[in-house]
């Protein structure tokens, strides 16, 4: 099981290492979103510092949409999805493998963006541990839900327009929770960030489980 997961994840990450789509297109896009927020809000540093948690997570979620597209399109061409089906790997392993690869890419993206907001927005950091753990938990949730909804739309030409409608409402609770936890870690919101971290972890676990179960039904139909 674990070796199958790593096999699929390794495949996706190798493709990424060789094509550098996420690095060369998704990360710059996310940084552009940060810059646009900066100019749209008049580059007022006190405003930016206050709204950093929310702006950061909106930027991550928007960039994640692109990363999900990329992850799904790897299986679209050349009958790759049929190859996966014929490989005899358990659908849950395929799901977890693709999710792990997507999560690894998103984690890199989130860390680059974190550097971006700390430098560009001048956001203060009170609690580094909470900040990093929140990033990990929220990114796992986004990656798991993204992989599931991406698989739902595999092979569909209308994927680019439907994915945001499907995925953004689902990720709304992650944006709420992660922004709150970041608010606590950055000292801009008086709330218990650790309990938000716990709920983010719950979301991530739930979507990993639901995705593993549902992926079987989806692969049959692909």
């Amino acid at each position: 099981m674990l070796s199958d997961v790593l096999l699929i994840a390794g495949k996706d990450l190798r493709v990424e290492l060789r094509s550098r789509i996420a690095l060369n297109q998704v990360v710059p896009f996310a940084l552009l979103v940060l810059v646009l927020f900066g100019v749209a809000l008049d580059a007022d540093s006190s405003t930016l510092a206050t709204f950093t948690p929310g702006l950061y997570w909106v930027a991550v979620v928007l960039a994640a949409l692109l990363a999900v597209h990329r992850s799904v399109s790897l299986e679209d061409g050349d009958g790759a999805d049929e190859g996966l089906l014929m490989s005899g790997l358990h659908p849950a392993s395929v799901f977890l493998g693709k999710a792990v690869a997507l999560i690894a890419e998103l984690l890199l993206l989130a860390l680059v963006l974190l550097g971006g907001v700390l430098i560009l927005y001048g956001a203060p950091v009170d609690d580094v541990t909470l900040l990093l753990l929140t990033t990990v938990a929220a990114v796992i949730g986004v990656g798991a839900a993204g992989t599931l909804y991406g698989a739902l739309l595999s092979g569909q030409r209308a994927r680019e327009t439907i994915l945001p409608i499907l995925l953004l409402p689902v990720l709304a609770p992650v944006v709420i929770g992660a922004s709150r936890a970041f608010g606590d870690a950055m000292g801009s919101v008086a709330t218990d960030g650790w309990s938000w971290l716990l709920s983010l972890t719950g979301f991530a676990m739930l979507y990993l489980a639901v995705g593993s179960v549902a992926h079987g039904a989806l692969m049959e139909e692909a």
């Binding site: 739902l152 030409r157 209308a158 439907i162 409608i165 499907l166 409402p169 609770p173 709920s199 049959e220």
Partner: protein, 277 residues
């Protein structure tokens, strides 16, 4: 309703969605609507109370009449999405076409009802809360996100691919509809940790008898309307499905007829060369 097989054999297709029962239900609902309008606008009084301390008139005045639309629509929306979720489970368990069409028809009604819930609620909120929208209200946020999730579900139903493939994809989204709305509900409740929203008004003893009757009547009317629309929506979907399948049957028959003609011509060329020799 005739099945595709019967329709192809007899050449008779259903062209309407009505039956004796739905026509009677439709007429009953039309009369019921007139009664509801009379109850809501004429028979019941506006909500005006006298403040004991100052002697001023307080209350919701005519805005209270909106609950006769708002609450039934909210109940219809949540009922409809529950039916969609149940249908989705049945699709995955039994590959049931019937439940797939019911789930789809129900979600369409749910989307409209949740939109109407949000619109009527906003109109009511303007005079009573002095704002159209509140971000920290858990019921508003849950209904809004549920409405958006329903739009996504309906988009998945319109995907390309075979009917069965669409049904399975939609069923997974349909089940997640419930899971996601529970997550949103919990997280907003925790986030906002307060609500301005009216608590359930039914237990309020101050509510007048006729107002209470109208309120209950409106809920029953809304649910009956839901059933009527669900039957109609199901039949439209069923006819669409029949049309899709019959289209294929007809095309196959035309190709076969073509092949038979070609065979006959070939046979004539091969054997019937009498006039050429």
């Amino acid at each position: 309703m005739t099945t595709t097989q019967e329709a192809v054999e007899t050449g008779r297709f259903d062209t309407a969605t009505g039956s004796r029962t739905t026509r009677m239900l439709g007429w009953a609902l039309s009369i019921g609507l007139i009664v509801l309008l009379w109850l809501a606008f004429i028979a019941t009084d506006p909500d005006i109370r006298i403040d004991a301390a100052s002697g001023d008139e307080i209350g919701q005045f005519d805005a209270v009449r909106l609950i006769y639309v708002h609450v039934p629509m909210a109940i219809v929306a949540y009922t409809a999405f529950t039916v969609t979720a149940i249908g989705s489970v049945m699709v995955l368990l039994r590959r049931s076409v019937w439940w797939d069409l019911v789930a789809g028809a129900s979600a369409e009604i749910g989307a409209v009802a949740s939109a109407l819930t949000l619109i009527t609620g906003s109109i009511w909120g303007r005079p009573i809360w002095n704002t159209y929208w509140r971000w920290d209200d858990v019921r508003l946020m849950t209904t809004l996100v549920l409405f958006m999730l329903a739009l996504g579900y309906l988009a998945v139903r319109r995907l390309e691919g075979s009917a069965e493939s669409r049904a399975r994809r939609a069923a997974i989204v349909g089940i997640l509809l419930v899971i996601n709305s529970i997550i949103v509900n919990r997280s907003v409740e925790w986030w906002a940790s307060q609500t301005l929203h009216q608590q359930s008004t039914i237990t309020d003893a101050a509510i007048e008898d006729l107002t209470l009757f109208t309120f209950m009547y409106a809920i029953v009317f809304g649910l009956a309307g839901y059933v009527w629309l669900l039957i109609k929506g199901f039949r439209v979907a069923w006819l669409e499905r029949q049309n899709e399948r019959f289209g294929l049957v007809e095309a196959l028959e035309q190709r076969r007829a073509e092949a038979e003609r070609t065979d006959a011509v070939n046979a004539a060329v091969d054997t019937g060369t009498g006039d050429q020799s």
